[in-house]
Symmetry: none
Subunit: 132 residues, 4 copies
Amino acid sequence: MLTLEQVERVMGAATVAAEAAGVAMNIAVLDEAAQLKAFVRMDGALLGSIDVALGKARTSALFRMNTEAVFEFCKPGGPSFGLENTNGGLVVFAGGCPLIDEAGTVIGAIGVSGGSPDQDGEVALNAAKTLL
Amino acid sequence: MLTLEQVERVMGAATVAAEAAGVAMNIAVLDEAAQLKAFVRMDGALLGSIDVALGKARTSALFRMNTEAVFEFCKPGGPSFGLENTNGGLVVFAGGCPLIDEAGTVIGAIGVSGGSPDQDGEVALNAAKTLL
Amino acid sequence: MLTLEQVERVMGAATVAAEAAGVAMNIAVLDEAAQLKAFVRMDGALLGSIDVALGKARTSALFRMNTEAVFEFCKPGGPSFGLENTNGGLVVFAGGCPLIDEAGTVIGAIGVSGGSPDQDGEVALNAAKTLL
Amino acid sequence: MLTLEQVERVMGAATVAAEAAGVAMNIAVLDEAAQLKAFVRMDGALLGSIDVALGKARTSALFRMNTEAVFEFCKPGGPSFGLENTNGGLVVFAGGCPLIDEAGTVIGAIGVSGGSPDQDGEVALNAAKTLL
């Protein structure tokens, strides 16, 4: 089960990485059942990316994979046309990934938004690594 | 009219098939009016596919055809562009099919999600056959 | 964690109790994070009580108490005016209760609807006891 | 303008006060435009009070007053019958209050939920004071 102590480590790593990238980001952390655990909007982060960060974390928690991996299913010509419209709307570009503990259990997900998808994804993946 | 006894036969067949495929699945059964009749989430099934299973069953009940047949109408270049956005959102890849009784009457629909669309579709079709 | 085996015991007990009461009921079982695990609509149960059963189970899972206990907070003159309008709408009359395992852990919730609140509540409580 | 540094002070004070009260709480902080700035769910806090905490902060930000002060307008016999149903639903019992800086400017709002309204309100008011 995801603890606040773990979340604070993840959030700390994400904000440090965002600052290093010079981008103000929104960072959402959900538990393994996609329930909100913590959120931070860095000063100057885009308002429109609040919902994107939450959506990335939700998408990643619901499907236990990176957001860009969900895209492989619903991209043009992919096997699951329109999957992104289920569950009240998914976010299927980089920036969300599962949080996995030392034992290999998925205990939640992080969603990051504010930079390019590549930047967001790198911040999310690096932050998630702090739990390993 | 779909009875609970029929639903239990369908559900039983679907879970046996899912176990045989080695995939934890969500299985939804609706009646001919697309009203929820029964639902089962197998242990370990993806949370994100709860809504997908419900959506497949709803799509199939509303249009009395397999979900992948609805895709033929709304696929790129198809005759009904955007059909998947009606009815609060349809799910138009394999895994949903009508439930038809011995007399050939559509009495409901089943939606299965958790594996690949091919796996889901096979489980749904096999489960539906138990009513024939 | 709530298993399908436990859910089947709860569902079985609830439908037996509903049949004994002579009332067709809708029965919803959610996990401890309020995610749908199983649902059954008995033959003849009111369509309008599908959503009521789901709402009772959700209310009980979210607040880890019986639905009628949530009413004590939001009833006229209670301390939390309008609480029933949060979380997308709560259902705050009898028929929902937590599912608690032998170790005393809340592992989910059941919601029952179709009879009077008293009847629904009795069925829910009796079904929940099968896990103790 | 509300800064993350200020939010961290408020969040820190709120969690310390919640721990002192022995209650696991959800704490939401919004800016003066009612946009989400930060959120924390303490370990063990009720899932149902996530939405309540967000709703209290939103109500307080939108009306620049304590949530229980909004109740005076919409309580039975009050001048604004049904006000609580505007804005997508307000939360009008104690636990939300404006965040005011040294200069007397409203720069956001905090919403706290998890204990009794009295407990929540005390935590919110004490946390808000750290900005004065």
